[in-house]
Amino acid sequence: MIPAVSIVDVVKHFGSLQALAGVSLDIEQGEFFGLLGPNGAGKTTLISSLAGLIRPDSGTIKVMGHDVIRDFREARRLLGVVPQELVFDPFFNVRETLRIQSGYFGIRKNDDWIDEILEHLDLASKADVNMRRLSGGMKRRVLVAQALVHRPPVIVLDEPTAGVDVELRQGLWQFIRRLNGEGHTIILTTHYLEEAEALCNRIALMKQGRVIALDTTANLMAAHPGASLEQVFVRTMQQ
């Protein structure tokens, strides 16, 4: 089976700063994959390269076998990305935002699926509210919804639970788990390591643009008996 995501030797500089120092990584279809690391480790840079938002200096990235630069149309169709920054278009309400996003992916009549997403993200009552009037956590939910409108087989969530209340977190994870159960590949970055421990079957730890540990969650934990993922994280970073 082709990997959901295949990353080979990806290097990216911002001026003199090396944000990615040669990252190679395969993520299999159906995985719930955790991309962890301290601030500035390069997680978002890697995700942006995957999504075609930035161009790496060298290396290749494929989504389900499609090169993200040469075959960008297919690669982007297969990918749903929740960006880390809380961004929104102030001209539209929630439903308009989701309809427009569907249209960008070539889907015209998508209201059944949009309603379902809104339901799961507890946004149904906000469907007709302008984006400007939503609270921060609700804007975050809309970002998640926007990434799902085209039912992408590979879903990337860059800190989706930052600033989101407990209830939604649980609802969100239930929904994402269901999608994972239906075969969607999930790639998650988060600084809440209990979340990663509970959800991810495999984890990459990044530091200064490199992957310094890559294993199943079970193996990572087994190497440090009795420790939580947070303790494993701290020890690995210190090595």
């Binding site: 911002f14 999504a51 075609g52 938002l53 930035i54 161009r55 960008f72 149309r73 297919e74 690669a75 982007r76 169709r77 990918l79 990305v81 960006p83 920054e85 961004v87 929104f88 278009d89 102030p90 001209f91 539209f92 427009i100 996003q101 569907s102 249209g103 960008y104 992916f105 070539g106 889907i107 015209r108 926007q146």
Partner: protein, 250 residues
């Protein structure tokens, strides 16, 4: 195709939802120009045997078509870049050609709406006939398209609003103001007359005006050739920049 239509629709709605500022305001501006210049100069000046106030109207219409086409694509892109919402159009699989067309056509639509608005508002003050309506339409379309494409380049290039303002104040405004909106270039000293021939906007205004009066400084076929060539060149450049992801995909 759906991706293109959606992006066009979104770009159209973006200005339409605030049409008081994006359409009504420029119409008012043009009307003020007409009242002031028209009132001051109408008694004294005739151009091509046409009363000055009638001569002025097509120039003002075209000037607003161009400036608003530019304003639409440039402000949309820079706003999206600064707020970060540009990711919503960068993540989907929209081909760069469709991306280009959607922004340009929406910007031209705003330019034309403003242009029609100016015409309707000024028709009370000046008698106007339209001798060759197709000429006016063709010049408005290609001129608007050229400025819409320039607006895309400016919006993508600028990182801050003041950079965009500089582009607008030091390039777009002089090009449009010094193009013969307010005068026939043959009333200018020889040197400035010669210089005006290097300003592509001169040909847009002159050709557009030909559609109204059937007389112009330059043959309309020549003007059209210049305008279409400039449009093609700027479009090609914009497409190449989009393909490379210049300033959008770092």
């Amino acid at each position: 195709m759906i991706g293109f239509l959606t992006l066009f629709e979104k770009e159209f709605l973006r200005f339409w939802k605030v049409s008081f500022q994006t359409v009504a305001a420029p119409v008012l501006t043009a009307l003020l120009y007409l009242l002031i210049f028209g009132h001051v100069l109408d008694e004294h000046v005739q151009v091509h045997g046409v009363r000055y106030i009638s001569f002025l109207v097509p120039g003002l219409v075209m000037m607003q078509v161009l400036q608003n086409a530019f304003a639409n694509s440039s402000s949309s892109l820079i706003q999206a870049k600064i707020t970060g919402s540009i990711v919503f159009v960068l993540l989907p699989p929209i081909p760069y050609g469709a991306f280009f067309l959607a922004y340009v056509l929406a910007a031209v639509a705003r330019g034309l709406l403003v242009g029609v608005g100016v015409l309707l508002a000024t028709v009370w003050f000046a008698e106007l006939k339209v001798v060759a309506p197709w000429w006016t339409l063709v010049f408005a379309l290609f001129g608007g398209g050229l400025f819409a494409a320039l607006g895309m380049i400016a919006g993508i290039w600028s990182e801050k609003f003041d950079q965009l303002a500089a582009f607008q104040n030091f390039l777009i405004m002089p090009l449009t103001m010094l193009s013969g909106v307010f005068y026939s270039i043959y009333t200018l000293p020889t040197f400035w007359q010669g210089l005006s021939h290097y300003n592509p906007v001169f040909y847009m205004i002159d050709g557009f005006r030909y559609g109204f009066f059937g007389v112009s400084d330059v043959a309309p076929e020549t003007s059209l050739a210049v305008v279409v060539a400039c449009f093609a060149a700027v479009s090609m450049l914009t497409l190449r920049l989009l393909k490379r992801g210049w300033k959008l995909r770092g």
